[in-house]
């Protein structure tokens, strides 16, 4: 029971809990964004321990890498600290979290053990894909075969979702950040683009609107 891997798993889980609590307790948004990156990195390590290398790879690249930068970019347009929340406002969210957590603990008993060969996912569909990939695809990586070929429609949908996410941001902010008129006061500095003849040409190199 007590193997080094088991100790590693428990240690990683404990660190995840500690980081999550730290994120909830902190007020400094910069520290929170950084800790979210730490949380993603720890999750990535944990996925490696569970032999889900592709998922770990994605988590490290997207969760710890790019989304940290996006959150930093968003944070720099707001204040550096979050406003304190009164105890009254915390009661309902706490209740929801406790209920959801209790429901998950209740469901744990019905889950198959990790790596259980007789579990539905491992015995029927999963085993069929692993076997068919060798015979039909001649590819060593089953994940790629399933993602790009067997489930090609899903991946097409996912690609479109990423495209639409980018498109939505461009429609809201503009490719150079000066769509529409806007102003913000992060950290006591007034920034914005409220001039009537604001530059709206997307090919414009310098896009720092009136940073008065």
């Amino acid at each position: 029971m007590f193997t080094p891997i088991f100790a590693l798993e428990v240690g990683l889980m404990a660190m995840l809990v500690v980081v999550a609590i730290a994120v909830v307790r902190m007020r400094s948004l910069f520290a929170i964004v950084m800790l979210q990156g730490v949380y993603s990195l720890l999750s990535a390590i944990w996925f490696v321990v569970l032999d889900a290398v592709d998922v770990a790879f994605t988590e490290a690249a997207v969760g710890a890498g790019v989304s940290t930068v996006f959150m930093l970019g968003a944070m720099l347009l707001t204040d550096r600290d979050s406003k304190p929340i009164s105890t009254q406002q915390k009661i309902v969210p706490l209740l929801i979290v406790v209920l959801a957590g209790a429901a998950m603990f209740y469901a744990i008993g019905y889950m198959p053990a990790f790596g259980d060969a007789t579990a539905i996912v491992n015995s029927s569909v999963g085993a069929a894909y692993v076997e068919a990939t060798k015979r039909e695809m001649f590819l060593p990586n089953v994940v790629t075969a399933v993602l790009a070929s067997y489930r090609g429609f899903d991946t097409f949908g996912e690609t479109t979702v990423v495209f639409m996410a980018g498109l939505g941001i461009l429609l809201l902010l503009g490719l150079n950040g000066h769509a529409g008129q806007w102003r913000a006061k992060p950290n006591g500095h007034n920034i914005g683009n409220t001039a009537p003849n604001a530059k709206r040409d997307d090919t414009q190199e310098n896009s720092e609107g009136g940073s008065a």
């Binding site: 720099l76 590819l139 994940v143 075969a145 090609g152 941001i169 090919t203």
Partner: protein, 147 residues
């Protein structure tokens, strides 16, 4: 004297390797972990790192915003176009076997996966850069004390 001299030197050294690693992840995805999504994000991260160290305007000279807009669309079109191509070859939508129906080692599947992963790379890298450009262009120039 630039206060970020070490950062700049190290970043300049690392960025080519990050971009190269993105392409390794992309084209080795059939054999090891990885694929278009991860490669796209890693490539975007290389450009974003460049923008963080050398400024957003320098990054926009490397990858102009208009390329980003085109790349986002091109990726989805490449993926969808692969499906349309298999239609014209007489198969179902995204039935890659039609690219090489006689092959005994699934060459059609390999070509199909290669093309759609390329489309995914294009869209993901461009979309990530588009989001970064949109946010970063709104930021005022920060002095070191503002952090």
């Amino acid at each position: 004297m630039n206060p970020h001299l070490i950062l700049r030197v190290v970043a300049k050294f690392l960025i080519p390797f990050i971009a190269l690693f993105a392409f390794y992840v992309q084209f080795h995805g059939d054999f090891g972990p990885g694929g278009g999504f991860q490669a796209g994000v890693i490539f975007a991260a290389a450009i974003i790192l460049y923008a963080l160290i050398f400024g957003i305007d320098a990054a926009k000279r490397v990858i102009p915003p208009s390329w980003v807009r085109i790349g986002m669309t091109l990726g989805v079109l490449l993926y969808g176009g692969t499906g349309v191509a298999t239609w014209f070859l007489g198969g179902e939508f995204l039935n890659y076997t039609m690219f090489a129906p006689e092959s005994h080692h699934a060459a059609g599947q390999h070509w199909g996966i290669f093309t759609v992963e390329l489309g995914v790379l294009c869209t993901v890298a461009s979309a990530m850069l588009a989001i970064f450009y949109a946010f970063a262009s709104r930021l005022p120039d920060l002095s070191d004390e503002d952090w």
